[in-house]
């Protein structure tokens, strides 16, 4: 495993005071909190931060880490020397706060994983109630990517999940499992599906946690999606728009014929009601008309443009006062 430089992660010098460490940590925790941050790696950073702070906020752990850290650099392959922690005492220090399941192997090789953690799961807010050793399993979160067409028809996706589990010897092992999940028709971008009991197993007689799957649409070459509504840019020729036409346009459920009225302006939005993503109140499909000009590459095309120039008096800048 790699050695982790906890000072570097929090962004303080090795001789920082406890107060400085706390301030720096709080600042970064706000910045990288996964619910707030837009940074791509926020979740990883936030976990790292929590771990670093867990090690440094407790003076005993910090002293032990300092003792050890003198000869190591971040990223170096690391195994704790035997008796490295002789003379330090970590247990019962009252330094809870994080969720020990989230800590790295590096952290656990130093400080173990038996200390009081999992606060988020066991938080019992009513006072004076006796706490038994029962804990609902942790919820898991995962993302699943689907195509827009899947939202119209529904689909089945298999997802690979890695979850740490404790085996019969008390070791933490990463268990891989594959789940086949039905993606219901009518799902929207960012919407979540809850699978009861598919999170971590509970402790004692407590139930397992849940699995939350967040649905993300793969970017589509043609369509843009907003909620249940779908947008499609359709290129038309100037004569189709000027003279009116019946053209074929694609939709996620198959091609349809679309009537272009005579004199349709560029950028006109046409609504195909109910052709968006299906739902109790289905979304609409919006078609945005985009003029395209034929290239003037051939002599014939050039002739036609020239003819227009001569016979079609048109100044699009007439209202600009020039």
């Amino acid at each position: 495993m790699d050695f982790k430089d906890y000072y570097d992660i929090i962004g303080v010098k090795k001789d920082a005071t406890q107060a400085e460490i706390k301030r720096a940590y709080k600042k970064l925790a706000r910045k990288y909190h996964p619910d707030v941050s837009k940074e791509a790696n926020a979740e990883v950073r936030f976990k790292e931060l929590g771990e670093a702070y867990e090690a440094l906020k407790d003076p005993e752990k910090r002293a032990a880490y300092d003792q050890l850290g003198k000869n190591w650099k971040a990223g170096q392959d690391f195994n704790p020397p035997p008796d490295w922690d002789a003379g330090f005492e970590f247990n019962g220090g009252g330094f809870t706060g994080g969720n020990d399941a989230d800590y790295s192997d590096f952290f656990e090789s130093l400080f173990g994983h038996g200390f009081q953690g999992g606060q988020r799961q066991s938080h019992d807010r009513s006072q004076g109630r006796q706490r038994t050793y029962q804990q609902r399993g942790e919820d898991h979160h995962a993302k699943v990517s689907i195509d827009l067409e899947d939202a119209y028809q529904g689909a089945t996706r298999s997802i690979m999940l890695q979850s740490p589990e404790i085996d019969s010897n008390g070791h933490v092992i990463n268990k891989q499992r594959t789940l086949n999940v039905k993606i219901p028709k009518g799902v929207k971008q960012g919407q979540r599906i809850r699978l009861s009991g598919q999170g971590s197993p509970g402790m004692g007689a407590a139930p397992a946690g849940d699995l939350y799957l967040q649905v993300e649409f793969n970017p589509h070459g043609l369509y843009r999606v907003q909620g249940h509504d779908v947008y499609l840019d359709v290129p038309v020729t100037p004569w189709e728009a000027a003279l009116g036409a019946s053209i074929k346009v694609p939709t996620p459920t198959g091609a349809v014929d679309l009537k272009i009225a005579e004199g349709t302006p560029n950028g006109r939005k046409m609504r195909l009601k109910g052709k968006g993503i299906p739902s109790k109140t289905p979304g609409d499909l919006y078609i945005i008309i985009q003029f395209t000009l034929p290239p003037a590459e051939s002599d014939e095309a050039k002739q036609l443009y020239k003819k227009m120039q001569q016979e079609l008096p048109y100044n699009p800048r007439s209202k600009m006062g020039v």
Partner: protein, 110 residues
């Protein structure tokens, strides 16, 4: 590897959850959810009072998301209820602005 196909609950606008469902999903007490409601951070849907008889609270799936975010914020950043409610509101605002910005960008490309 299982061949079983799991079917979950789609947390969409139509999904409604009870106070119990919500506190279970957040690993919180019902009292904590009530505090969230009192702070105005989440709101029960279609809550009606028939004379003195009250129908039990029902919550939308978006309330579930809000409540779970609130729980994480409170625990990870040590924010009190009023602060959590404010953060949730500001996050919503940012989300709306971002969506507007996307539309604006899409309409003004090239």
């Amino acid at each position: 590897m299982t061949e079983k196909i799991l079917k979950g609950i789609l947390l969409d606008e139509q999904t409604e959850l009870s106070l119990n469902d919500l506190s279970y999903a957040c690993c919180s007490s019902a009292e904590w959810i009530i505090q969230l409601v009192e702070e105005g951070a989440i709101e029960p849907v279609g809550h009606k009072t028939h004379g003195t008889q009250k129908t039990p609270w029902r919550f939308s799936a978006s309330s579930l998301q809000q409540a779970q975010t609130a729980m994480r914020l409170q625990q990870d950043l040590n924010i009190n209820m009023a602060g959590v409610a404010l953060v949730l509101e500001l996050l919503k605002e940012i989300e709306n602005l971002q969506a507007e910005l996307e539309v604006y960008k899409a309409n003004n490309k090239d």
